[in-house]
Symmetry: C2
Subunit: 321 residues, 2 copies
């Protein structure tokens, strides 16, 4: 689909990419520079910095601060992806070899650390302390979420656990991007709360749709086997809906008993979920989050950025359906 | 040896340890809490926060800011140790099992990340932006140094390379601790520069003495085989002195040609270095750094903290000789 709502952020995104590239610096090791170039330029939708610009423009935040903030957010996101890929042993992301696939684990750990350092430096360059605190708090939420997922999320069929996980994994950084962009533009607490809600709801919708895509996508598009979350013991919203409406299904029972290692049975479960109402129910829930995001930005309907903000929220659903 | 010069920092160090412990929080995963408790309470000399208090007291920095800063510095240090141990595959540190020895690599990566996040949060809580920038810049220097060491320091017998490495690895964080403590107390640029120099020189001396200890220490004290740097291809100052005065030594030639994998030959080289003047020459160089550190704090001779600051600098040498 076309994305005309992204046009107001295009120029800013280019500046963000330039700023990210400059962070690799000439005083660093050539292999590190090459790795950073590879990582930062590998594409991705840049949806987080896009939100930074659109939200920041509504509150008339200084453009150069938004560029710095957008780069900080995207580098923090990239740092967590680098460590994630290492932890999962992923060899591809967005169809491109991960750092992990080309480098030793040691170099990958350190490259992620380097990106954390650079992200923190950029955040500090916004010259706004509350933003630094928000930034470090968000990093803690993300990492704590990953640790929780690693230690205790396997095989758990439970809504609260799921919502906590996707907040930590995805929505927290969307929420931060939106709130931080507002903070550099206005001290108005009502506006800040609205924009924080917008980021949160868009982020929740984004992750739910990602989890739906794990069941409905083509392997060639999503870059991993269909149903891979379930095969790794990660119970996402479609599986929860299915389990709730099919409590006596033998594969559901097996999953609850810790049997996600049984690949053949889990593949049956994936197929059952695909052909059930669970997919539609999960998507409806993503739509509810998008509706709440639209509600949150209702007060800014007169702003020239309103259509773009609404467009981003709707796009979360439309790109996959 | 006794360390009466540390007494002025004792109370502060206790508060730092309390603050570090509180960072583990109740809202985090129990396994993470246990790991943090283990890490943060495993001891160590707390030399970096000690410098924070002594230097901060000279410039009459607010005590509670020094507690926050001391905890931030020590958590950043701990975070880099956690990732270092993972990278080196070390199973013991200070005679206590590393996180790495007890946990999966994945959990260890994430625990280090969590500590980075907490360190950044504490740094932000000092409410002083230039300090945040210094903090993130130092993290970048440390990580870039580790990457350089990994990719291109093996077998290199070269002073500049060595000095750059020990600055990145150790002196940068000492320098930051001293400068940051000064920054929260005074805007006087001359005092800031003096204290920055003090931290730098103490840090350089500290790492040189650590490298000397790798040749002269008992395995039971240093917790790793004697000469282990050289066996890993890391050429430190004693080896550089020896190579400079014995250019035709066959093991030196082998090392320069990349032959540090030949354990038997390297063990011969370790013994040759031990019984040469190289050890004394390297220690003399550490003493020169201590002298420069003392020179830098000369203007504060009337301060009640002067003797403690001088004591810390001298202790770097005395603890090992």
């Amino acid at each position: 689909m076309s994305t005309p709502f992204l046009i107001p952020a295009h120029e800013g995104i280019k500046q963000v990419e330039q700023l990210m590239r400059s962070q690799a610096g000439n005083d660093h090791h050539p292999d590190l520079r090459a790795a950073l170039e590879h990582l930062l330029m590998a594409g991705g939708k840049r949806i987080r910095p896009t939100i930074v610009f659109l939200v920041g423009n509504v509150v008339k935040a200084p453009h150069e601060k938004l560029v710095t903030l957008g780069a900080a957010v995207e580098m923090l996101h990239t740092a967590t992806l680098v460590h994630d890929d290492l932890i999962d042993g992923s060899l591809l992301r967005r169809g491109i070899p991960t750092l992990n696939a080309r480098w030793s684990p040691a170099a990958t750990v350190l490259t992620g650390d380097f990106l954390f350092g650079r992200a923190a430096k950029l955040a500090a360059e916004t010259d706004y302390l509350p933003l630094m605190k928000l930034f470090s708090e968000t990093l803690t939420v993300i990492v704590n979420g990953e640790l929780t997922q690693m230690f205790s999320a396997k095989g758990i069929i439970e809504r609260k656990n799921y919502y906590n996980r996707i907040y930590a994994k995805t929505a927290s950084l969307f929420e931060m991007s939106s709130l931080a962009a507002t903070m550099v533009g206005t001290e108005d607490e009502i506006i800040r709360t609205s924009m924080k809600t917008y980021g949160y709801e868009v982020g929740m919708a984004f992750q739910i749709m990602d989890d739906v895509l794990d069941f409905t996508g083509e392997q060639s598009t999503i870059g991993k086997p269909v149903g891979s979350d379930l095969l790794n013991g990660l119970v996402t919203l479609p599986a929860i809906y299915f389990a709730e409406s099919h409590p006596d299904n033998p594969e559901v029972k097996l999953l609850a008993e810790g049997g996600w290692g049984n690949t053949a049975k889990m593949e049956i479960l994936v197929k059952s979920i695909q052909s059930s109402n669970a997919i539609r129910n999960a998507m409806d829930e993503a739509v509810e989050h998008v509706d709440k995001a639209l509600e949150a930005i209702e007060p800014f309907k007169q702003s020239p950025e309103y259509e773009s903000l609404a467009g981003v929220a709707r796009y979360i659903i439309d790109r996959n359906s």
